[in-house]
Structures are given as C-alpha cells and as structure tokens.
Symmetry: C2
Subunit: 103 residues, 2 copies
Amino acid sequence: MITMQVEIGCVKAATDVIGDKWTPQLLRFFLSSEVVRFCQLQELVGGINPRTLSARLLALEDKGIIRKLHSQTSSRCEYELTPKGKSLMPIIRDMEAWSSQYA
Amino acid sequence: MITMQVEIGCVKAATDVIGDKWTPQLLRFFLSSEVVRFCQLQELVGGINPRTLSARLLALEDKGIIRKLHSQTSSRCEYELTPKGKSLMPIIRDMEAWSSQYA
DNA sequence: CCGTATCCAGTTTGATACTG
DNA sequence: CAGTATCAAACTGGATACGG
C-alpha cells in the first residue's frame, strides 16, 4: 500500500522557483524584454555577483523557467522565458504592483 | 534642484517582505484563517524552528504585515493580517495557483 | 503555550581576479 | 561578453534546552 501525504493548497512549488534572493528581480526584466543577456542583468540588478547570477540562471534553466539561446554570430548568450516561465509572470506582475504601492 | 533616481517598476519592496524563506508559506495560512496561532504555524509549516518562526513573525510585524493579538484569557498569542498584509494576499494566491499547476 | 538563549554546522554571498 | 575560481565573511538554519 502506498501512503501519500499531500499538502493541500501549498505555495511551495512557487517558492522553490522564485524564493531565492535576486530571482524575482531577475525575472522582472522579462516583463519588458523578450530576451535578456547576462551583462544586462548584471547591470540592471545592481551589483549582483556574476557567480550568483550564473547560479540563478542555471537554476532557472534546470527548473524549466528560462531557456538559453546560443547566438552563433557572437559570444552573446541570451535567455528567454519558456511557457512555464511565462506562466509565472502574473506573480511577478503582482509583486511589481504591490511594490509600487508600498515603495 | 532635486535629482531623483527612481527605479521604474521594481519588485524589491515585495521581495523585502515575502522574500525570506518560510514567509510565503506562513502567510498562506491567513488565506484560510483570519487569526493564526504560533503553535499552529509551527505544526502546519512542517518543522520550522521556533527561533526562525519567531524571527519571521517579528519581521512581519515590523513591516506592518501582521498584528499580534494578546489574548487575555490565556497565554495564547494570535496573529492577524493588517490591511497592508491583506493587500499582499493576491500574490500569495497567485503563488498557490501556480504551485497547484506545477506541483 | 509562546517564545528566547546558546551553540554550531552548513550555505550563501561579496570582493576580486582571471579565462575562453 | 560570459562566465569560473578562490577566499573569507555573513547569514541562516536546525537541535536543544530553558523561562515567562
């Protein structure tokens, strides 16, 4: 017999994805741009360590939130949201709305 | 002349409030109950350390998200959302919806 | 019941420098 | 440009025990 413990109504999956420091701020840039580059994020999210940024992008890739695009013409790497990532945007948008209200 | 640097569209205020580990899960219980007790949260959010729980509740109080109610009849402490806290609920609801979709 | 106090191990992060 | 390497500091978390 298999016992399953299901926690009904849970935010865990979401926190696993956007719960890390910097991650919501990183995802926010996808609200205004389809495609984002490493160095853009580095500038825009003031002072994030490249190591940390790299770790966050990798984690988001692993979780199927973003996809890495290798451009053949240059060394530029670009990232874009997957459908799963796009489905996350309402949360980010809410956070932005709330922040503007209580800044 | 006053120079202001405004970061347009920012999620920082929200992450300052719900960005800590456990916090979204704690806030979630206010979706179903007006009032929540310390020991309830301790049970429901599996295995959170009382020190951490205490720290989170204090932080949420400081930020004006929850209010502590001292019950006269017993040693029980209860917490309830402030209006500011209630305004946060759409984010939590979104996170819950997303989580149920991608559990 | 509701916390606070200690102790301590593990994780995360920033600063900085460096490579393909 | 897009990362990786290293080091040390800071933060955080769990276990446990104790006090109001």
